[in-house]
């Protein structure tokens, strides 16, 4: 049987991979594997295997992570399930609000109301969580959160410098020819159809 810690790590990795594949390539040609891989990752995170008992042959005791015992597995599962519910209701709510507003079509009040209802559920689930209550009343946890953001900012800056360095050492392609009259008309027509509703 797969140890639940390893399955959780693999599932999270699959989720990251699915998100990346989803955003890969032009908008009209996204990866077809992103959806199934994301579902597999989500299923792996939710349906974690049981912690083997100490007398079973595949019993695995963590050496470093003290919370990967049976209680830790339950806490981890609750946090993951709760987070998925809160985040998914917030995402679906925002998507519904955007679809119901006047950005892409006429305003649709019932769709807007459903979106706000879902966003409200997300807020309600957060307000019911003692995890946030505890975190936001502890100075050390707040300090960790701020330090984490500094760590992310520093890492992103470092990666930005590495990418700039890679771009600088990459041989440049020769300048391309300007568009000819046919290509110019084609691009103009594509923009007109996309922005002007196909008229």
């Amino acid at each position: 049987m797969v140890f639940w810690v390893n399955q959780a790590l693999l599932s999270f990795t699959l989720l990251i991979a699915a998100c990346s594949m989803w955003r890969m390539g032009p908008a009209f040609k996204r990866s077809k594997f992103a959806g199934p891989i994301a579902l597999l990752g989500l299923a792996g995170l939710i349906f974690l295997p049981e912690q083997p008992l100490y007398f079973e042959s595949d019993y695995h005791r963590c050496e470093f992570v003290s919370f990967c015992n049976d209680d830790g597995r339950e806490s981890y599962l609750k946090v993951v399930t709760w987070s998925l519910i809160s985040i998914s209701t917030a995402l679906i709510g925002c998507y519904t609000i955007i679809r119901g507003s006047r950005i892409y079509a006429e305003r649709n009040p019932p769709v807007l109301a459903i979106g706000w209802f879902l966003l409200g559920i997300s807020w309600w689930s957060i307000s019911q969580s003692k995890w946030f209550e505890e975190a936001y009343t502890r100075l050390d946890v707040l300090a960790w959160m701020v330090c984490f953001i500094f760590g992310i900012a520093g890492t992103l800056y470092l990666l930005f410098r590495i990418i700039r360095f890679t771009e600088n050492v990459t041989p440049k392609d020769p300048p391309i020819e300007p568009l000819n009259e046919n290509e110019r008309r084609l691009v103009t027509e594509m923009i007109r159809r996309n922005l002007g509703g196909g008229s």
Binding site: V5, N6, A8, L9, F12, T13, I16, A17, S20, M21, M24, C62, E63, F64, V65, S66, F67, C68, S75, V79, W82, S86, I87, A90, G93, I97, G100, S101, R102, I103, L112, G115, W116, L119, S122, I126, S129, K130, V141, A143, W144, M145, C147, F148, F150, G151, I152, G154, T155, L156, L158, L159, I162, F165, T166, V169, T188, I191, L195, G196
Partner: protein
């Protein structure tokens, strides 16, 4: 509803949180570069750097005890780093959601403006 104490994982210092952030971002970035590999991309240098920055601290932590390491220990530490990283990001969720809710309020009341690009195309 339930509790999840970060301090039981043995991560308490502020510098450790910055290190966790670095490992977490580099881990995600390495996965992103691997799964989006394509002929128009030159990700070798960023990938090597992100792998060094993500696996290096994991290896160092796993060898801290007795100088030896194993795949199981590295996976365990990778789980620790990623779960703590996701946990801290989820802790920011109320603040992020407050910002998003404000944006949704603006979107709900917004009317579309005339696009100057359409007029430019017509002319």
């Amino acid at each position: 509803m339930f509790g999840f104490d970060f301090s039981i994982a043995g991560i308490g210092s502020l510098g450790a949180m910055m290190l966790i952030a670095m490992v977490f971002i580099c881990y995600c970035f390495a996965i992103h570069l691997i799964v989006t590999w394509n002929p128009y991309h030159r990700p070798a240098i960023p990938l090597v750097f992100s792998l060094i920055l993500s696996i290096g601290p994991m290896l160092a932590m796993s060898m801290e005890k007795d100088g030896n390491t194993s795949l199981a220990e590295i996976l365990e530490i990778a789980f620790l780093f990623t779960s703590l990283g996701v946990g801290v990001i989820v802790l920011w969720m109320p603040i992020i959601l407050a910002f998003v809710t404000f944006q949704m309020l603006i979107v709900s009341r917004k009317s579309p403006t005339e696009d100057p690009l359409i007029e430019m195309l017509e002319n």
